[in-house]
Structures are given as C-alpha cells and as structure tokens.
Point group: C2
DNA sequence: TGCTTAATTGCAATCGTTTGCATTTTATTA
DNA sequence: TAATAAAATGCAAACGATTGCAATTAAGCA
C-alpha cells in the first residue's frame, strides 16, 4: 500500500484499468456502469481509502452539500453563545442535516461577514443558510433573502417575510404560561424579556391577553426588557426587590436561563418558590427539571423544528415552494408554579 | 446593478479592464500590483459584492481554510451532545478559529465516516481536524494521526500519543477536589465517573492519592463507573441510597451535569447539602453557580485551551513541531461543600 | 451470419482561481 | 537619447472531478 503521491480519481481509474469517467460513475453507483465493474472499483477505492476531492467536485457540480448555520446572537454579551437552548438547536440541526446528506458549517453573527449571501452561497462555501434567531433587526437576513439564496430562519413564524420562518407558537406559549400562573393564584406577574424582539413580542402579547381574559390589568412597568441572560435577570430581580420590595408574585421568563438567574436572586433573599413567587421559564432545557424547584416551562419541539428547517431549506435548493411553519409548543408543569 | 449571470473573477476583471491575473492579485493585496489598481479593483468588487469562488480557489491552492471539529461523543445516549461544557468548547474553538482565519465544519463521531483523515482532509473538505474528547477508545484518532493529517485533541494531556493533546490537569483536579472534601470533613466519598476513560482515570488517581495522603483508604466499590450524564448520576445515587442507605458523605463528580443529577436525587430524599453530603463537580459550567446550593467545581480555562488547540493545529499545517499542553485548572469553592 | 438495438465505456470540454514565467510599460541613469 | 533596470501586467497551464455525446462492445433476432 504505497501512498507516495496523493490518490486522485485518475490514478484510481488507471489502477482499475478504466477511464476516469467510468471510475467516477462507478463510485456513485451509476447504473450506466456494469454492476460488476462498479463493485470492483468501489472495492479498490475503499482498499486505498480513496475519497473524491470535494473541492474539485464542488467546482464542477456547483453544489457543495454544505449548509451554513449562523447563530444570530442578540447581545454583545457573548453569554448567549452558551445558551443551552441555542446549542440544542445546533445539535438537532446537525443531525437533521446529516440525515439529508449535508454537512454543517458553523458560524455566528459576530464572526461572519455582513453579506451572508455572497460570502456563503455565491462563493460556493455552502448551498444555503440557516439562521438561528431573528435578532433585534432582520436587515442582514432580509438582505440575504433578497439575493435569492436558499435561507430559513428559526424565529417567530408569524412574522411576514419572504423566507420561511420556523418557530414555536410564541403567542400561545406566553398565553399558556401566564394563564397558568393566574390560575395558580398569581396576581402581580412580571414579564422578564425584551418585547422589542419578534419572538418575545408575541409571548408578551400572550401575557397581556391572558391578563385581559382573566379580567386583570397589566402594569406596563411590570415588563422588564432585559437581555436574555441569567446575569441580567439576576440583576433585574435584585434591583426590583431592593427598590420596591417583593411587589410581585409571579414571573414569566423568556428563557430558562433567565428564570435561573431570577431564581438565584430570589433564593438569595429567601423568597419562597412557588410559595411567594411562582415562576415559568421557556425552552425546557435539560436543566429545567434538575433545578430546585423543578422549573415549569414552555416546551418547543426542537427535533421537529430542525427537520422542518432542513426540509424548507432543501425545498428552496430544489426550486420548490416553501412556507413558514409552527412547531408544537406546550407547557410543562413542574414545581416552580 | 445587473446580476444576470453570476459574477466570476474573469467578468470582474473584464469590467475593470484588466486580466484575471491582475484582478486575482489585486483582491489579495498583492504588492506586485500597483496600489491604485488594487484599490480600484477592490472597490469594484465590493460594489458588485463579489467574493471569489471558494471551491475553485481551494482546488487550485490545495488549502481550504476550514477545520473539521469532531465531537467525539462517548455514550450512545445522545444526551452528551447537549453537555454545556462540550458546547462551550465548541463556541470557544469557533472564536479561536475565526481569529486565525479559519472556518469550522462541525461534525460528531456518530455522523462522520470512520476514516476521518481521508474523509475530511484528503478529500479537501478541511485542512485539519480537532477532536473534542478522547472517547473510550482512541482507534479512530490514532488512525487519523497515522495518516499524517494535522490533528489535535481535547483530552488528558499526559496520554502518550503522536499527536498533541490539550487538556486540564486531570490528576490535579481530582486531587484538589478530593482533598478539599476531606478537609471539610467528608470521610466516605463516592467517585461518580468511569475511570475507563483517560481523563477520568487521572481524576480518579487524584481521588485515590488524596485519600492515601490523608491516611484514608478507599473502598473500590465507592467508585461508580457511570455514563457522563445527569440521568445516569440520578439513577446511580437513587439506587445507592435505596440499597444501602446514606452510607456516604461526599461526592466527586466528573462533570457538573453529573453533579446536578446527583443533587436532584439527594434533594428528592431530603438529604442536606452540604450538611449531610458535600459535593464537587467538574467543568464549572455557567449553571454551576446558579444551582442551589451553588456548586463547588473544578474550573478549566477553556478559552486558553481553544487557543492552544488552534495554535498546535496550525503548527502542523505549517510543518512545525508540536506538543501536548496542560491548561490552567483550579478549584472554585462554593456552597455545595 | 448479418443487422438492429441495447448496454458499456471513453473522449474531451468545463467549472473558476491561482501563479510561474514571459511580456510590456515606466522609471532611472549614463 | 539610448540603454538598462525596475515595476506592472498578461498568458496559459494547472488543480481534480463530472457529464453530454460519441464510440465501442455485447445482445437479440430473423
């Protein structure tokens, strides 16, 4: 087994005594080639553990079989990179992409150049783009979509856009969570999250309407537009109590991490959960049930979301029609409420 | 701005009235080209937001500027994909790679073909491989290294190998954690983790020696070779107590997730922490300090680790000598001990 | 056997950049 | 001004696989 010079398709073909065209076809099981020849060449290839040069293949076929996944981080705080929920999505996307025969080029909005369409797609680095998160502004996404490249985003699916958006039913999630707290007796419920962000906006609308439907009014000052990090939540609750005492008895958090930060602040002041304050998180990350008390939270079917995203993306690659999709969303009741 | 047919370097050159060679050189700021010409072409390029075809460029230069990152998962349980620590490493690697001008192709040991060297490197999909985790067997890693491709791994840095391994000082970590618990008064300390795994083996050795140095003996049955998941830890502690009661007063866990699982089991049985049982985790993930009680744990400098990994990898790409590296490792004392 | 059709295989152009070397243009000096 | 050196640009050959079309071989049938 001499590995002197690197093995190319041409050399492999020569070894097999056929032309490169035959070798190429044989390797991809093209029925044009005689069954027997195919087998022989494939065996030879794996014996010399040959794999075709992806760069050459991509150049020729104009397809990369790679999808760029961009984590569209919201805050400057890099904290959010480590939000388990985002990473869960990445993991599921990786699986779904692989299942569809694609590989994943991982990037994030801090590092990627601003012109996603040309940097990733026109340059043949990837065949399409999956954006995780709408961010506070969708200009980069819109720009990429205008350039007509295959793209899908995880976000609020009811946002009007000329690209498919996959996401949970944020309005329903916010509504369910709030209604639940109200039913459990909470009367003064804070909303921890920034409604300036599309997904949060819908959850907030659900929060407002649940109050209305229960005949309660919402104090605008009860909405705390904080960053989506546990640190921000911790600071927020801390300040709130320090300034006005414990004037609330319920917390709707836009992520489990936010809920954790809030819980920490409450525990530090010996506030009982759920006795004094009831809490609902969002995302149902693995740690939610390990918390003490186990966190009531809104679950979104991420596995399905990943499949839908890949599906909608490939539809675009194949010039087929697409549409936004809402994934299953439900409340998981645990001990924090 | 007509985007009729896709823009190639040749067309851009034509627009600029120069040859493709000049255009190519101008775009990469080659001093061979007159300053003025360079500026003009670069301006034209960004005006038409042109970016060179990566496939063609890679084919020609034989460099991809991509690094494959493989999550070498241990268990069949996909749980481990979502271990926040692994994902933290991925995030840091992403940053470090970008800083060095590389992009990241993310894969994992379940999905990637078995022959990493030929699949990723010979095929020109990437210039090198970073493996996160040694797994229980290093055959795939060894095989890739034998194929002479640039490769580095996150793992136990004292493992003898013909490729650089970056990791914390696991022996010291295990020793510090155990010594700490002993000093706090624990006498019967369980080790939750599988010493069959290189990193765990060293931590376990530290656990054993700390006992010895304190004049204590270790009961072999106190070592619980469980999977690195909170679920496994929860089950393990549950069973242990169910069968023999609370016969231990200290827990050394090989990850924070394991610690969380254990904590949950203890709380369900109203065991006091740190009163009845003291606990130390490993990794210092963000949630460690949000736990109640805040988790004492072993911290490893992941940012530095990521930089070292990238550095050692690029050394290989540039034919320079490499070596394994130990990153800073220390105990963070919190309330669980 | 001779002829038509189907099954296999090979030829050669192409994908878009990069780069060693040749060529042209400009600057320098006698 | 002519000769020479330096600066700027262009030519054309790779890089390695894919694929429409032509060519060869095998099979089918009267």
């Amino acid at each position: 087994m001499k590995t002197d010079s690197k093995l190319t398709l041409a050399k492999l073909a020569e070894l097999a005594g056929v032309s490169t065209s035959t070798a190429s076809r044989a390797l991809k099981d093209n029925p044009l080639i005689k069954e027997e020849t195919r087998a022989r060449i494939q065996a030879l290839a794996s014996e010399h553990n040959f794999s075709v040069n992806a760069a050459a293949s991509r150049l020729r076929t104009q397809k990369t079989h790679v999808i760029a996944v961009i984590l569209n981080l919201i805050d400057h705080t890099e904290q959010s990179v480590s939000d388990p929920f985002l990473l869960k999505i990445v993991g599921e996307l990786n699986k779904a992409l692989n299942a569809a025969g694609y590989e994943m080029l991982l990037s994030n909005s801090f590092m990627a150049s601003d012109d996603w369409a040309s940097y990733f797609v026109s340059s043949q680095r990837a065949d399409g783009i999956i954006v995780v998160g709408q961010g506070k502004s969708t200009v980069k996404i819109d720009k990429a979509a205008e350039a007509q490249v295959p793209i899908v985003v995880w976000g609020e699916p009811h946002t009007p856009a000329n690209y498919p958006i996959i996401g949970g039913d944020n309005y329903a999630g916010g509504y369910m969570a709030t209604k639940h707290l109200i039913e459990r007796g909470s009367k003064h419920i804070l909303f921890l999250g920034d409604p300036g962000h599309a997904e949060m906006e819908q959850r907030h609308k659900g929060y407002v309407n649940a109050h209305r439907d229960a005949g309660l009014t919402v104090d605008p000052s009860f909405t705390k537009p904080i960053d989506i990090t546990s640190t921000a939540a911790h600071a927020c609750i801390n300040d709130a109590i320090k300034q006005h005492g414990l004037y609330f008895d319920g917390l709707i958090c836009v992520s489990d991490m936010v809920a954790f930060g809030a819980i920490k602040a409450l525990k530090e002041r010996y506030v009982g959960i759920p006795g004094d304050v009831k809490i609902v998180g969002y995302d149902d990350i693995m740690l939610a049930e390990l918390m003490h008390p186990a966190l009531t939270t809104v679950h979104q079917n991420v596995t399905m979301a990943a499949h839908l995203m890949v599906e909608q993306l490939l539809c675009q690659v194949n010039q087929q029609p697409v549409s936004s999709q809402v994934v299953e969303t439900y409340l998981v009741k645990r001990l924090s409420s």
